[in-house]
Amino acid sequence: MADHTVPLLELRGITKRFPGVLANDDVHLDVLPGEIHALLGENGAGKSTLMKVLYGLYRPDAGEVLLSGEPSGIATPADAIDAGVAMIHQHFMLVPTLTVAENVALGLADNGMLLDTTAVAGRIRELSARYGLHVDPSAYVWQLAVGERQRVEIVKALYRDCRLLVLDEPTAVLTPLEVDELFVTLRTMAADGVGLIFISHKLDEVLALSDRITVMRDGRVTGETTPGQTSKGELADMMVGRAVQLAPDRPAADVGEVRLAVDGLRVMGDRGLESVTGCTIEVRAGEVVGIAGVSGNGQRELAEAVAGLRQPTGGTVAIDGTDVTGQHPSRVRAAGLAYVPEERMRDGVVGEFTVAENLILVDHDRDPYCRRGLLRLGAIADACRDLVARFTVKTPSLETTTSNLSGGNIQKLILARELSGEPRVLVAAQPTRGVDIGAAEYIHRRLIDERSSGTAVLVISEDLDEVLALSDRVAVMFAGRIVEVMDVADATVERLGLLMAGTGVEEVGAA
């Protein structure tokens, strides 16, 4: 990469204010042609705002955007596309009922009256071959898996001859194998001179892929570095603004009796197909079992069936020796289950309730919160104040409406409530998804503490790093069943990745 070339993109002193908050404060960022530039930061650090300024969605209060040394003149997303800037959002902008070719052609200026899909398809095949993107132009988008849809988005950008591509958390929805493929594609694009901005909070990926890294925190750039000069720990510290412990200390496990026993469980999914197809797993007292797997392989249905939220069609669930298969959630909880749900805002809290009201959601009708049917507001306030302090939930008051808290604080609130009941078994689904690093660090420590104090903990996560950091044993879920369980010492990302993709299942044999 030539150091003396004019930057493809230069953001100079971008400042963007919203009522009461400074989202971008004098931000500088430049991208050279052919460079992969990672933009790293927590939720709310100002990454999205900065990219929206670049894309013409926001007008900055100060600063300028230069493309190849000239003022960009981008005032709308249409201008951005014309200038060769493309953006791939976390939520794809595709029309599911149209084919890949139609989606790619959608919005092109020179379509004319009739769409020449054969020409479009031809070009798509060309681009696919060149960049290693496996895309069938005649397939309907609704038929495609998430990873494939992302490839369509990339093809769309390439088709429009983009010079600068912004990818917002592109790996969040991919399997490790797909991530590798994506990286190959992105490197090929960079080799062709395209500039790439890679937004992420996954430190490993940033280090593996990028040429340069810019870290943001609280609207400001807190550091610019290259992968050769930095480390995961340093990047995390820059993101959070203090020393962060990425992997929690895990004292040796003192494993006891089986607390959660799932045997041959079968559960229907929302679409009327069997999502959990004979799942068997055991979790013992004092250990964390982590379930790794690509989203949509039955993890959600498994967790919901264990918690009593979904009726199994076969198999059994036992908690602490009590058969709770298909029982009402109150029975399952009575048997000793605590559950941190995946859909935090839907299941985990009542958004309109106050912090205190949500903290008593499970035990609201039990002593000390309630006697003879009457709520004891004093006792509730005392207990909640204690919980908020113990679990470091950041809230202005106990009377604050819960939906106004950040994701991390809501998750801490849920954890506070679920752990306060001293459960026998804890099931945590996607415990740190969408949660900032600081809160994630705390949540991980709490989960380990819980396990060390003798609770059986089942963690379900699509984040492999998380599974590896927390688990004593790792189970891989594929197509509705556990295909392999291994000691964490034997689990490598490569091995897990293969199992998650469904390869190597035959050798293992049916679970």
């Binding site: 919203f18 009522p19 009461g20 908050v21 989202a23 971008n24 927590e42 939720n43 709310g44 100002g46 999205s48 705002t49 609207g219 918690a307 939220l309 009402h328 959630p329 109150s330 399952v332 909880r333 009575a334 559950y339 749900p341 859909e343 839907r346 299941d347 985990g348 809290v349 009542v350 958004g351 309109e352 309730f353 009201e357 008593i360 959601l361 499970v362 609201h364 009708d365 309630c370 049917g373 009457l374 709520l375 507001l377 950041k394 202005p396 604050t400 409406t401 106004n404 808290l405 950040s406 994701g407 991390g408 604080n409 900032d436």
Partner: protein
């Protein structure tokens, strides 16, 4: 006009007061449109409104009559607060009032010789039970069979009216009317079931106190009991309630049962607090309830679905209804104009109710940003 009104009020009065002022402004806006309508009819709106106020709140007797008119609105409104808080849309107030009236009347006809201290509470309990049953039925249908409660409660209104007409035309019809007349009404019910009048020489009876007490009890129910907590949790998020182990279905049934009980009590008080001391109708539901089963929804919404705020709210709407006749006499505009005025207030209130939520949301948003918590930019 929603955003505009909110902004203006927040600027002039500060955000805290805006929440209170929005409904007031909504009423004023409705009155303004009513004034235009009166002008179009060739009447002087100032004169008309003055007569309305005078008639509704002018002296002790007017206030007492307004209070009497407000009583069913308040009780139904309380019932609506309970149901709506649980996200159960009870449109069956009319039917539940009738059911309460029927059961309480049967009690009075069955035990006419009980002493007053027993019979009065007993007929009131009869009202509660009748309304509760008529509410529990659609509640159970919703919870266990997924029947939409809006449809089932409306249809049960019609069933109740027909049941009332049948009963008042034959089985419990006044024997005298049966022989000579045609009026669908009962005989004069036992004097021991008359609701005691309050001292002061007005027509106010103890039913008013019962209604106000119920507002207090409903407040306690909703915010001080485990059951009320569950009602509100289910109302906001049935998914979270179920996750936490709450019996969601039973809670839905409970909401409609309590809601119906309040409406049934209103029906009983209408019968035993009436001048004629009879259960009487003209063959329609309005003939007995005066549409309180529907108008109570308005008073509850105007009171922000809060039982205590529903007290002044129903007093206000009761005043409108009672003062309408005085207005008609004074400026010769049809009293039906008040019905239109009611409707306008409803439109503005419902939009302002939404407004208040929006105001609250935006305030909370501001607090969150100021307190420096994470917002995704």
């Amino acid at each position: 006009m929603g955003e505009w009104l909110r902004d203006r009020l927040a600027r002039v009065a500060g955000p805290q007061l805006a929440g209170l002022l929005v409904p007031v402004a909504a009423v004023l806006a409705a009155f303004l449109i009513g004034a235009v309508m009166m002008l179009a009819l060739g009447a002087n709106p100032l004169e008309g409104y003055w007569a309305l106020l005078e008639g509704a709140f002018g002296d002790v007797d007017a206030l007492a009559d307004t209070a009497l008119k407000s009583m069913p609105l308040l009780l139904v409104g309380i019932g609506i607060c309970i149901a709506f808080r649980a996200s159960v849309i009870n449109i069956g107030g009319e039917g539940q009032m009738i059911a309460g009236a029927i059961v309480s009347t049967l009690v009075a006809l069955g035990f006419p010789d009980l002493p007053r201290v027993l019979l009065v509470p007993l007929v009131l309990v009869g009202g509660l039970v009748g309304g509760a049953l008529w509410g529990a039925l659609p509640g159970a249908l919703k919870a266990y069979s997924g029947v939409n409660e809006i449809l089932s409660t409306i249809m049960l209104n019609i069933v109740a009216v027909q049941l009332m007409n049948f009963l008042l035309r034959d089985p419990i019809m006044d024997p005298y009317e049966k022989e000579h007349g045609r009026l669908p009404q009962t005989e004069r019910l036992s004097e021991n079931s008359d609701l005691p009048l309050l001292p002061g020489g007005t027509r106010l009876h103890v039913g008013i106190l019962v209604a106000v007490a119920m507002a207090g009890l409903a407040y306690v129910l909703l915010w001080r009991t485990a059951l009320g907590y569950r009602l509100r949790a289910v109302g906001h998020s049935a998914a979270a309630a179920r996750y936490a182990g709450m019996p969601v279905k039973r809670t839905i049934v409970a909401a409609l049962t309590f809601s119906g009980a309040m409406c049934g009590l209103a029906g009983a008080i209408l019968v035993f607090g009436s001048e004629s001391h009879r259960f009487v109708t003209d063959g329609s539901s309005v003939g007995f309830t005066g549409s309180a089963g529907f108008n109570g929804i308005v008073t509850a919404l105007f009171g922000g679905l809060h039982p205590l705020w529903t007290i002044p709210s129903s007093f206000f709407f009761g005043g409108l209804q009672f003062g309408a006749n005085a207005m008609q006499r004074a400026v010769q505009v049809p009293a039906a104009l008040i019905v239109g005025l009611n409707g306008l207030v409803v439109v503005f209130v419902v939009s302002s109710d939404r407004l208040r939520r929006v105001v609250g949301e935006s305030l909370a948003q501001g607090r969150r940003i100021r307190s420096g918590e994470s917002i995704d930019g």
